[in-house]
Symmetry: C2
Subunit: 255 residues, 2 copies
């Protein structure tokens, strides 16, 4: 029996029309059949959110041999769930998320819809990778990431990933990426997050803005360090968020 071509499931949080996901489609088309299912419009900061109360809809927006692109009115995680459940004729061999317009390093990993997609794929037992570029512009140039995206996609298809582990890959926005660093998530904090404004009708409202601060700028093994020094940061990320090192202390409470 002829082995089927790998099935590649793609999503993002910037929406199906974003330059990042369309660059990604182009870079990985050679690896197999592609189904992309992405939000109708931008869903940044959606984390692992899903829609429990809203009816979801799907729309096929592009179809070519070996490629389908669907738009969904839900969150990034909704897109992945509905694609696996309703669109794919077999389990995908890999889930790829991105390329995000903007980085998802450090604690941003928790807020990121791009990482929500990778976590969701991983929770379904599929090797999953998120790609992000440190450039928020809708017109960002992703071409310098193509070579590493192809290499990483090839390796993940060939080797798989450990159970419960997905990859958070962030690229520096530099003409020449120096190489890759396998690193840990940097400790960091968002500060001064809200700005109060006065509505013409006389009430207060607030915009979420904020400044990110790296709280361990001296560390050289973090994703923030790698990006600041021109390297692509590969952070293996676990679904099992049990804080094993804290279990003894809590057990000692003897509740």
């Amino acid at each position: 029996m002829k082995k089927k071509r790998p099935l590649i499931l793609i999503s993002n949080d910037d929406g199906f029309a974003a330059k990042g996901i369309n660059s990604l489609l182009e870079y990985v088309r050679g690896f197999g059949d592609i189904i992309a299912c992405a939000p109708e419009s931008a869903r940044s900061g959606f984390s692992c959110a899903f829609s429990s109360e809203k009816p979801l809809r799907l729309r096929l927006v592009r179809e070519e041999p070996g490629l389908q692109v669907w738009a969904c009115n839900g969150t990034p995680v909704d897109c992945l769930k509905i694609a696996i459940d309703q669109i794919c004729d077999r389990m995908p061999d890999i889930v790829i998320s991105g390329i995000n317009h903007g980085d998802n390093a450090s604690v941003n990993s928790h807020y990121s819809g791009t990482m929500g997609v990778a976590r969701e794929g991983c929770m379904k037992g599929i090797p999953s990778v998120a790609f992000s570029l440190c450039n928020y512009s809708p017109d960002a140039d992703f071409s310098n990431t193509a070579r590493l995206i192809k290499i990483i996609t090839g390796r993940v298809l060939e080797d798989g990933l450990p159970k419960n582990v997905c990859l958070n890959v962030n690229f520096p926005d530099t003409p020449e990426i120096k190489g890759t660093k396998v690193c840990r998530m940097c400790n960091g904090i968002w500060e001064k997050e809200l700005v109060k404004e006065r509505h013409p009708r006389g009430y207060d409202y607030y915009w979420m803005v904020g400044q990110f601060r790296d709280t361990e700028p001296e560390a050289t093994d973090t994703d923030e360090w790698a990006l600041a020094h021109g390297y692509a940061a590969i952070t293996p990320t676990t679904i099992d968020t049990t804080a094993y090192s804290a279990m003894q202390k809590i057990s000692d409470w003897d509740l």
Copy 2:
């Protein structure tokens, strides 16, 4: 100088009017001054999502000596961010989330807005605890959780929690809770998640439903096991989601 009373910041994902958060307020009022800031209405499954593009608003819905309750039109994480930035006059000594109507054990921890609140508090460096009861009913009876909620709140206020660690506490819905187990997050998977329906106007739409399956029912050290056997499950949960055990394998790729 007189030491100030502890400041307790409370939120949830079921909305400020839910029975769970109002039960929680009652149970922990003795521990300090309370500010609650919770969504206007239910925001289940919102994970760590925040609102980057939507103007946020606040409304004071209840005020008594030592207690303020605010409603916010954003996500659970928005509620926490805006409360810390705009409402609290000092950093809270503890963040408490819940009591959620429904459990947040196993991988549900990732989707949970209740846990989003605890993660957000933890990312701000505040000892943070999420409480959930295995009962989805709006009329759930939370009274059996009161004793342990008070004990755990007292311990966290006294001892704090390790850096980057928050607590995911789930209670079984039983008349008598047998005790507590400090446990790890169970491996599990959601299956058959979408149901297709036909709209009267002739198009398809989908509801998110799904069945949760514990993929390691034999394990006795998990949150699912503890809950199934009548114990409160305390899962220390880390913000640092680096998969340290996978770093060598990925480094060996030698990209």
